[in-house]
Structures are given as structure tokens and as C-alpha cells.
């Protein structure tokens, strides 16, 4: 199976009502362009999995009603304070949650990546997690009968979305090393990656980021500024002013609906998206995926 090079709109074909959708990112490298597109398509009732401590990515999916439930270890806007949509919806009893510790969540994804049903994890025993997660169990270590240990079920998301630095023309990806993206790609059935740049395989091989081979990738979206307003290290920083606008807007349901209308649903916000799948090699102008394929090898499109 080759990697599809698609537009933001075309990337939505893998995401249907009710799927389990995994995301990565924090106040940097959140897949904001893909999340905005998801909101525009009016897909709802998704079960969200956060691949690490989450931030505006999760808060926006909650505040826009895309998320029906969310599996996470922590949700904050980092230096910008509480994630207010998450906080409000939870306090009002309008959000279904599945809470994990960061290491046990990563272990559950590891189990998903290996195709095994559950995994033992350290810690947890004696904490409130064992009360709120009826699917976390305690077993006796079969190799040391003196030891009790928690087991958690594998996480196998239907679809993962994340933002990365580069993809090459074969669909190999250079990702941010901080956010468990390779593990997430290995655990998920379909993987959609937005990237700042499409480059040659030679150029990708020199990238210092985490290389994720195309075997794990379903589709690549060329989406410059795709992490905005979160930061993309080496490309652009966080837009602090916009984040403060977001924080103010997320203080109430009506003001947050206005935020979504203005910054995500409006014609002005939509107008910046390319309408067709564009595979753009850096410094070589706009070309379609097929044109690039002729020069650099096969790309499956659409």
C-alpha cells in the first residue's frame, strides 16, 4: 500500500462519526489544520485518545463538540493555564473521560502497536485510577507470586492525526521527537500526517527529527503552518496573542462558538486551504503529487 497525498478535505475520508481518533501535540506541534478541518466537516461523537499530555488540541475538540469522550493523562494549556472547555464540560458532567497516567497510556499504545491485548504497568495500585477505571485490573505476577501488578487494556485507535516537519515523496515522515508520534503511528489503523514541507528522500534522510517509515503512514497532507497557533520548532513559534484570544473565548459556550465561527468556519478561515491535493517540494513551486511522482517515484494519490 502506498501513501496517499491528499488535501485537508480529502483527509477526512478516513474519519467517520464514532471512530476512535488519536492526536498528539501540546502547545507545540498540535495538528491544528487537521482539527480545524474536522470541525468544518461537522463530524461528531468521536472517541479521542491523547498520545501524551494534551493541550489546546484536546480542548478544541471538546469545545467544538467533536469529542464525545476523551482518553488522556492531563489536559492544560501549559503556560497559558487551565484548558477551559475541558474544565467546564467535565464540571457540568457533559464529557465522558477515561483517565490514564502518562506512562501507562504510553504502555497501552505500545500494546496496541504490538497487537497484544493488555500490558502490565507499574504504579497505579492504591490510587484513585483503580476506582475510576473499571477496565484497569490487578493481577498476580505469574513469574513472582509475591507481586501484585496493574494491567491496562491495549489502545488501538482507528485513526491517528499528527503534524510533522517533513514528508518525502514516498511518504516517509520526519516528526517531532517529543510527542510519541512513531508509537502512535504504530498503534493506529490509519495514520494521517500533516507536514510543513514535502522533500526528496535524500533530504528527509538528513532530518534530525524522528523518522517514521511510510509503512505506518496512510496519508500525507501538505499543510504549511499546520500546527498554528501552536508552535512548530524550527519553523515558527507559538502565537501567544492568538492563544490568549482562545483562552478568553473559551471562558463560556457562547464566546467559544463565536471563536469557532470566526477562526475556523468563516469563509476567511476556509479560504486559506488549498482545494486540491498539492504536493509541494520546497523551493520548487506548487506541483501536484503526480507531477512530483514523475520525478521522484511513485505516489499514490487520493
Amino acid at each position: 500500500m502506498g501513501v496517499a497525498f491528499v488535501s485537508l478535505q480529502e483527509a477526512m475520508q478516513w474519519i467517520h462519526d464514532g471512530v476512535t481518533l488519536a492526536i498528539s501535540g501540546h502547545m507545540d506541534m498540535s495538528p491544528m489544520a487537521l482539527i480545524h478541518e474536522l470541525i468544518r466537516t461537522n463530524i461528531q461523537n468521536l472517541s479521542i485518545v491523547c498520545a501524551g499530555a494534551a493541550a489546546i488540541n484536546a480542548d478544541l475538540l471538546i469545545g467544538s463538540d467533536v469529542a464525545q469522550s476523551i482518553e488522556f493523562s492531563q489536559i492544560t494549556l501549559g503556560e497559558y493555564g487551565f484548558a477551559l472547555n475541558f474544565r467546564r464540560r467535565f464540571e457540568q458532567g457533559n464529557l465522558s473521560v477515561r483517565e490514564h497516567a502518562c506512562p501507562s497510556l504510553a504502555a497501552a499504545l505500545q500494546a496496541g502497536a504490538a497487537g497484544i491485548p493488555f500490558i502490565p504497568v507499574r504504579g497505579l495500585l492504591g490510587t484513585g485510577y483503580m476506582d475510576i477505571r473499571s477496565d484497569f485490573r490487578v493481577i498476580v505476577n505469574p513469574f513472582d507470586m509475591e507481586e501484585s501488578i496493574a494491567v491496562v487494556p491495549a489502545i488501538r485507535p482507528d485513526v491517528a492525526i499528527f503534524h510533522a516537519f517533513q514528508a518525502d515523496t514516498h511518504g516517509n515522515v520526519a516528526a517531532y521527537p517529543g510527542h510519541n508520534n512513531r508509537l502512535l503511528a504504530q498503534a493506529s489503523r490509519h495514520v494521517i500526517v500533516s507536514v510543513e514541507e514535502i522533500v526528496t528522500p535524500e533530504e528527509l534522510s538528513r532530518h534530525p527529527g524522528t523518522i517514521i517509515p511510510s509503512v505506518y503512514i496512510t496519508a500525507v497532507v501538505h499543510a504549511p503552518q499546520g500546527a498554528y497557533p501552536t508552535g512548530c520548532p524550527g519553523y515558527y513559534g507559538i502565537d501567544s496573542d492568538h492563544i490568549r484570544t482562545y483562552v478568553e473565548a473559551s471562558r463560556s459556550e457562547p464566546t467559544f462558538r463565536e471563536y469557532i465561527d470566526r477562526f475556523i468556519r468563516s469563509d476567511a478561515a476556509c479560504g486559506t486551504r488549498p482545494k486540491v491535493s498539492i504536493c509541494q517540494l520546497r523551493a520548487s513551486g506548487h506541483r501536484t503529487g503526480n507531477e512530483v511522482a514523475e520525478e521522484f517515484g511513485p505516489i499514490e494519490s487520493g
Partner: protein, 245 residues
């Protein structure tokens, strides 16, 4: 009056935490923890130059994601980890989940992050709290995010070292493992600390020290070299020292 005779509560807490770190230790700092991050960098700049410091979010991160970092930590490689709690009880158990009933809380907090595993797996756990109030140190937690001790059948290497706040230090005692006042911050009395704490600190025993204020060397290093290092990880937090040094 010298520049270094006045300092903020945050600066005090950073210096206090920094002094707890020993040379050659491996120190790790988790999410949303600018004060421990600053403390670790300060210790490495001053008395613990061979200390290895790993701060989640640092630009030169040697691990693939947080997954590899947590795997590495669970093998027993990390000597010191900092944790906090919206509530901390007399045993040193922490709550990072909710204030009020979990099902319908008054305040939903961000969540436990790694604490329900980290507390068990790193050798020395330093709890810190940026404010010291009765509400923050209640008799009973509204939710138990992580625990200071475990039963014999549970693997555990993590031990609570103490709780560090702007008012002083609480440490678990050998006889009952409960927190007692062991040191007060400069200019703070034991009865003031007790008045701000929802459980008994045993101050009638009188065995607590008075801590030394931050030195000019600590403050100068924090406000210059450490502030500069923090800019790439906690830019908003580091702004408080923009006009220093």
C-alpha cells in the same frame, strides 16, 4: 538595600528546591513544572555541576517521545523527580484531579500526568507547592491521584523526601511516616505554618530549623544564566527576569 535582599516567593522556592539536589544525581522534571526546572538548572550551575537534568520540553531531548523517557525512568535511572498536588495530605498523598466530588466537581484540575507511576519509580520524590494554605493541605484528599507509600506486594522504589513550600519544609517521620514541620522559611514562625495547614504538624516538638534566605549568588545565577536557559522551555515564566542581570 541590595538587589538581592528582596526576592519573590517563587525565587525562594526555586532556591530551596535547588539546595535539595546532590551532585551526580539524575534529575527529571515533568509537565508544567517551571519552578522545578529552574531549581534543577540552578543546582547544576552551582553546587551540583555533574547533575544530569532532563526537562520535558527541552530542545535537545534524547528520547523518542515521552514513552522512551518513561521506560528509561522505570528502569530505575532517575534519582529525583518533582511532583506537586492541588491537595497534599498528611501522608504525602497527592490530588491533581478534582476539588470536590469526582462525578460533579467544584473544580476540574488538569489531571495526574505521570504522577501515579512516577511517584513509585523514581528514588527521591520532592513534593512542592507554590502556595501553602489549609485548603491545599487538607485532612482528606478529594481524589487520590498518587500515593506516598505502597503495600509490600507492590514494586516501589520511590520515597517521599519532603514537601517544600514558601513557608518551609514538611518531612515524613520515621515512626509513623506522617508529615511534620522540619524547617521554616526565613521570617516565618512555626505557628504561622501550622495555621496554614489542615493537619497537625507536631510543632510543639520544636525540632525544626530556620532556613537561610537565598544568597546573592543563587539569585544572580537564577536571574541570569538559569533564566536564559529556561527561555526555550518556559518562555512565559522566564519573562519575569527579562530586566534582570
Amino acid at each position: 538595600m541590595s538587589l538581592y535582599s528582596s526576592y519573590s516567593e517563587e525565587e525562594w522556592l526555586i532556591c530551596l528546591l535547588s539546595r535539595q539536589l546532590k551532585d551526580h544525581e539524575v534529575v527529571a522534571v515533568g509537565n508544567n513544572s517551571p519552578i522545578p526546572a529552574a531549581a534543577s538548572l540552578l543546582a547544576r550551575a552551582l553546587h551540583a555541576r555533574q547533575t544530569e537534568v532532563y526537562i520535558l520540553g527541552q530542545p535537545d531531548w534524547p528520547f523518542e517521545g515521552t514513552k522512551e523517557f518513561f521506560d528509561w525512568m522505570q528502569r530505575g535511572t532517575v534519582d529525583v523527580f518533582f511532583l506537586s498536588g492541588a491537595q497534599i495530605d498528611r501522608s504525602g498523598n497527592i490530588n491533581l484531579h478534582v476539588i470536590g466530588n469526582y462525578e460533579a466537581p467544584k473544580v476540574r484540575l488538569p489531571g495526574g500526568a505521570g504522577s501515579a507511576v512516577v511517584y513509585f519509580m523514581c528514588k527521591r520524590i520532592l513534593l512542592f507547592k507554590t502556595d501553602h494554605t489549609r485548603k491545599g493541605f487538607p485532612e482528606k484528599l478529594d481524589f487520590v491521584t498518587s500515593v506516598a507509600r505502597s503495600s509490600q506486594d507492590v514494586f516501589r522504589r520511590g520515597q517521599l523526601e519532603g514537601v517544600f513550600t514558601p513557608l518551609g519544609i514538611l518531612k515524613p517521620q520515621d515512626e509513623d511516616h506522617l508529615l511534620r514541620l522540619t524547617a521554616v522559611a526565613p521570617g516565618v514562625t512555626a505557628s504561622e505554618v501550622q495555621a496554614q495547614t489542615g493537619f497537625d504538624l507536631g510543632i510543639e516538638r520544636g525540632d525544626y530549623l530556620e532556613l537561610q534566605p537565598p544568597t546573592s549568588l543563587e539569585l544572580n545565577t537564577l536571574r541570569s544564566a538559569v533564566a536564559k536557559e529556561l527561555q526555550s522551555i518556559y518562555p512565559e515564566f522566564a519573562k519575569q527576569w527579562n530586566h534582570s542581570a
